[in-house]
Point group: C3
Chain length 361, copies 3
C-alpha cells in the first residue's frame, strides 16, 4: 500500500457526541420515561441498534419488533401503548420523524467543509465569495457570480457566469449551474443536478428542427432541495422558478418556464413538461409525468406513474393514465381485472337471450 | 465579503443589442405594422415585457392577453386578427417560433467562450485542437482525440481516448465521452450527458451475470442535441448512432446498438432498449419506453408514457401500454372509465334474464 | 490546427491481437469447423464483418443472414443447423453470449490506465492508495478514504471522506461517492453515478418539510455494476445495500435503506422507493417503479413500466399498474381493447331484453 499522511482509526471524523434521555426529551419537547440519565451516542435502526444507540418507531407496524431491540433508548409516538424491553429507556414524542430531524444533527453532526477557496478552484473575473463560504477542489465559478456567506460549493461544481448563491446554500460535488442561475438561501443541490440547461425548444422549418435559443433563467427560492442528477431547465424567455421550501428528489426533470410553487414534494423520476404551474403544497408521486402548459392546483396529489394530461383542481387526488380522480381510477382499474370473467358472462347472456355463440371471446 | 477583481454592475455580460421593428421584419421575413422605428432590446414574456422589450404570441389561446401587454413590440402570427395596445408595434410572421429562432440570437447574443486551452485542462498525447476551439478549466481530453475548429469543450468535460469532435460542436460542462465517441459538427451535448458508456450486456452462466465487454462506439452525426444527464451507450459490437438533426431531451436513455434516425424528437425521460431502430422524423413522447430489437417507422409518433412492445409502422401514432394505435387506445381507455357502471348494467341484465344476483360486483 | 505531440494513425491504441479458429474453440470450450488456422482480429456484427473479423449469431432469427456475411469466422449455437458461406470458418459454442464474454477481452483488450496518482488529483488526509491503483486527472479523494489494490479511479471522480474502494474496482469518469460509501471488489461504477446522496426524508411540521438528516451509508458488495447517471441514496439510518453480482443499468434510482439482493438485474430508468427489499436473482424491467417498504421475492420478475404497489412473491412474474400476475394482467389488458365492441353488445342485449336504448354509449 502506498500511503499518504496518516491512518484514521475510524472513517468517522471526530468524536460522536452523547445525549442523555432527559436531554433528548428536552430538545424534542417529549416526555422521558425509564432512566433519564441513560446516555446514547448515534442513532441506529431498531434491529441493528446496540445499548449505546438511540432508535425509534414511527409506524405502528413496527411496534411488534420493539420487545427484541437492544437499543439503549427509543423515540416512540406519544399516544402509543408500547412497553420497552429491560434496559431500554424512552421518549414519547408527538411525531418521531420531526423528533429525528432535531436529534440527528446533534448525534451525527456533519463536519463543516473548510472555509475558503481551494487552491485548485478556478474563479472568474468579478466573483464575490461571502464570509465563511467554502469552495472545494476544482470548482469553477464563472465571471461575476456571487457566493453568499457560509455557502458551500463542493468539489467539481461548475457555475456559469452571473450566478447567485444564497447564504448557507450547499452545492454538492459535481453539480452544474448554467449562466445566471439563482439558488436561494439554505437551498441544497445534490451531486450531478443540472440547473439552467437549455429547455427543449425547436421550431420546425425546412425539414429540420431549428433551435430556439433559451435565454431565461433557472431560479430556486430559499430552502429548496434538488436531488442527485435532477435537471431544471432555464426558461426559454422568462424564468423557471422553484418555490421556497420545495423538495425535489433524484432524476426529476422540470421543463422550461415551469413555475413550481412552495413546499411542493416531487418524488424521484417525475417529469414536468414546459410552462406548467404546480401549486403550493402539491405532491407529485414517483415517475409521474405532467404535460405542458397545465396547472396543478395547490395541495393536489398526483399518484405515482400517473400521466397528467389536463389541469388538476386544488386539493384533488388523481392517478392513472390519463390521470383521473383517484377513486374513479381505482374503481375502473379494479373493474379491468374483472373483464375476462365479464366477457364470459356476456357470452352466456347472449346465448341465453339470443341463442347465438360469439367466437371472438 | 472576500472579493476578487471587480464588481460587475449587472450579471449580463456586455451591452444588449437593439433592433428596430423594421429590422425585425426584415430578418424574419415578416411585415411590420405600427411604428417601424420602434427599438427593442431583449425578448420577454407577454405579461412581463416592458416598453423596451419584444414579446410574441404563437398560440391563439394567449391572444386574449395581448391587450394588457406593455411590450414595445410583438411578433404575431400572419393570419391572426389581433389588435395591439397603444404604443405597441408589431411584426406579422409566418411562424412565431421560427421567427424567435432568428431574432433571439440577435437580441440575446451568447458571449463566446475564450478560444484556446485553459491552463488547468489536461490534454493527452496526440490530441489535436482545431483553430478557434475552446477548452475550459479542468477539461480532460484523452490520447489521440481530435477537437474540430471552433468547437467548445467546457469546464470539466472528460473525453476518453480517440474521440472526434466536429467543427463548431459544443460540449457543455461536465459531460463525459467514453473512448472513441464521435460528435458531429455543430452538435450540442448538455451538461452531464454520458456518451459511450458500456451497454447493459451480460451472459448468465454459473449462477452469475458475466459482463460481455462492450467494444462498439457511440456516434452522433451533425446538428444533434443531447439533453442534460441523458445517456447514449456505446454499441456492444458495432456502433450506436444518433442521426443528423435529431434532438434528445434530458434524462433520456438510449441503449447499445440503437440506430436513431435523422430529425427525430425524443422528449425527456424516454428509454429506448438496445438494438432498436427509430426512423427519420419520428417523435417519442416524454417517459415513453421502447423495447429492444424493434423498429419504429419514419414519422411515427409515440405518445407520452407509452410502452412500445412491437414494431410501429411508418407514420403511425401509438399510445398506452402495450402501445396500440392511438385512436384505439383512447377509445379503450375511455371505455375503462365506463366499466364500473357497465358492471352494474350487466348485473341488472342477469337479474332480469336469469333471475339471479351476482355478488362479486 | 494547433497540435500537441504526435498524430496517431488510428484512434485505436496498440495493435489488435489475433486468434485462430482453433484457439477460439479452445478458450470457449467450443468445437471448431472449417479452417482451424484461420486468423481473426476484432469482432464485428454479422452484416459489417469483413474477412479479418469474428462475428456471431445467438438468436435463430438472424440465421437467415448467415449466408451473406463476409466474416472470416463465426460463433454459432452448438445445436443449430447452419451452413457457413465459403471462406468462413466456425466455432460451435454452448452459448454465444457466454463465448463472447470470453473472447472479447482477448480480441479487444482494454488498455489499462496508467497506475499511480495523476499530479492534478487532490488527495485528502489519510488517504491510502493500493498497489497498482490508478487515480486520474482532477480526481478528488476525501480524508481517510481507502483505494484497494489495482482499482481505477478515473478523471473527475469525487470521493467523500471515509470511502472504501475494493480491489480491482472501477470508478468511471465523473461519478460521485458521498462520505463513507463502500464499493466492493471488482465492482464497476459508470460515469455520473451518484452513490450515497441524501435520501428523500422530510418531516412535515409548521407548514414546511423539515429535512431529516440522512446518516447511513451506501454499500455495494463485490462484482456490482452501476450504470451511467444512476443514483443510489445512502440510508437514512442504517445502510442502503446492493448485493454481490447485481447489475444496475443507466438512470436508475434506488431509494434510501433499500436492500437489493445478489445477482439482481435492474434495467434502465427503474425507480425503487425507500426501504424496499429485492430478493436474489430478481429482474426489474425498464422504467418499472416499486413502492416503498415492499418485498420483491427472489427470482421474481417485474415487467417493464410496471408499477409495484404490494409485495411480490418469490418467483412470481408481475406487470401492469398496479402490478398483477403477468398472465392476469395480459388477459385483462387484452380485454380492455375489446371494450368498445363490448359496450355495443351490451347495448344490443339491453334493447333486446329491456326494450330500451342507452344513450351514453
Amino acid at each position: 500500500m502506498v500511503e499518504t499522511l496518516h491512518h484514521p482509526s475510524t472513517p468517522d471524523r471526530g468524536t460522536m457526541p452523547e445525549l442523555s434521555v432527559a436531554e433528548l426529551a428536552s430538545v424534542t419537547g417529549g416526555e422521558a420515561f425509564g432512566d433519564p440519565e441513560r446516555l446514547v451516542r448515534g442513532v441506529a435502526p431498531l434491529d441493528e441498534a446496540g445499548p449505546e444507540h438511540l432508535s425509534f418507531v414511527a409506524n405502528p407496524k413496527y411496534f411488534a419488533y420493539i420487545h427484541a431491540t437492544r437499543a439503549g433508548a427509543l423515540l416512540v409516538p406519544a399516544g402509543a401503548e408500547v412497553s420497552l424491553p429491560e434496559g431500554c429507556s424512552g421518549v414519547r414524542v408527538a411525531d418521531a420523524h420531526v423528533a429525528l430531524s432535531v436529534v440527528l444533527p446533534l448525534l451525527h453532526p456533519e463536519p463543516p467543509p473548510p472555509p475558503g477557496v481551494h487552491p485548485t478552484a478556478v474563479l472568474g473575473a468579478g466573483v464575490r465569495v461571502g464570509e465563511g463560504a467554502s469552495v472545494g477542489p476544482c470548482a469553477v465559478v464563472g465571471d461575476g457570480s456571487v457566493l453568499g456567506a457560509g455557502c458551500r460549493v463542493d468539489a467539481h461544481v461548475v457555475l456559469g457566469a452571473g450566478c447567485e448563491i444564497g447564504e448557507g446554500a450547499t452545492l454538492h460535488a459535481g453539480c452544474t449551474l448554467y449562466d445566471r442561475t439563482v439558488v436561494g438561501a439554505r437551498s441544497i443541490v445534490h451531486s450531478g443536478a443540472r440547473l439552467g440547461a437549455d429547455g427543449f425548444g425547436f421550431a420546425f422549418t425546412a425539414g429540420e428542427h431549428r433551435k430556439v435559443p433559451q435565454v431565461g433563467r433557472c431560479v430556486l427560492e430559499e430552502d429548496v432541495e434538488i436531488g442527485a442528477n435532477s435537471t431544471v431547465d432555464r426558461g426559454s424567455i422568462g424564468d423557471t422558478v422553484i418555490g421556497r421550501g420545495t423538495k425535489i428528489d433524484n432524476l426529476v426533470h422540470i421543463g422550461h418556464n415551469c413555475r413550481i410553487g412552495r413546499h411542493v414534494i416531487v418524488v424521484a423520476q417525475v417529469g414536468v413538461s414546459g410552462s406548467t404551474k404546480v401549486g403550493d403544497y402539491a405532491v407529485l408521486g414517483g415517475q409521474a409525468g405532467v404535460g405542458g402548459h397545465l396547472t396543478i392546483g395547490a395541495r393536489a396529489r398526483v399518484g405515482g406513474q400517473a400521466g397528467v394530461t389536463a389541469d388538476v383542481a386544488e386539493g384533488a387526488t388523481v392517478s392513472g393514465y390519463p390521470a383521473r380522480p383517484h377513486r374513479e381510477a381505482m374503481r375502473a382499474q379494479a373493474a379491468v381485472f374483472k373483464l375476462p370473467a365479464l366477457l364470459k358472462r356476456i357470452g352466456e347472456i347472449e346465448r341465453a337471450l339470443l341463442g347465438k355463440a360469439r367466437t371472438e371471446d
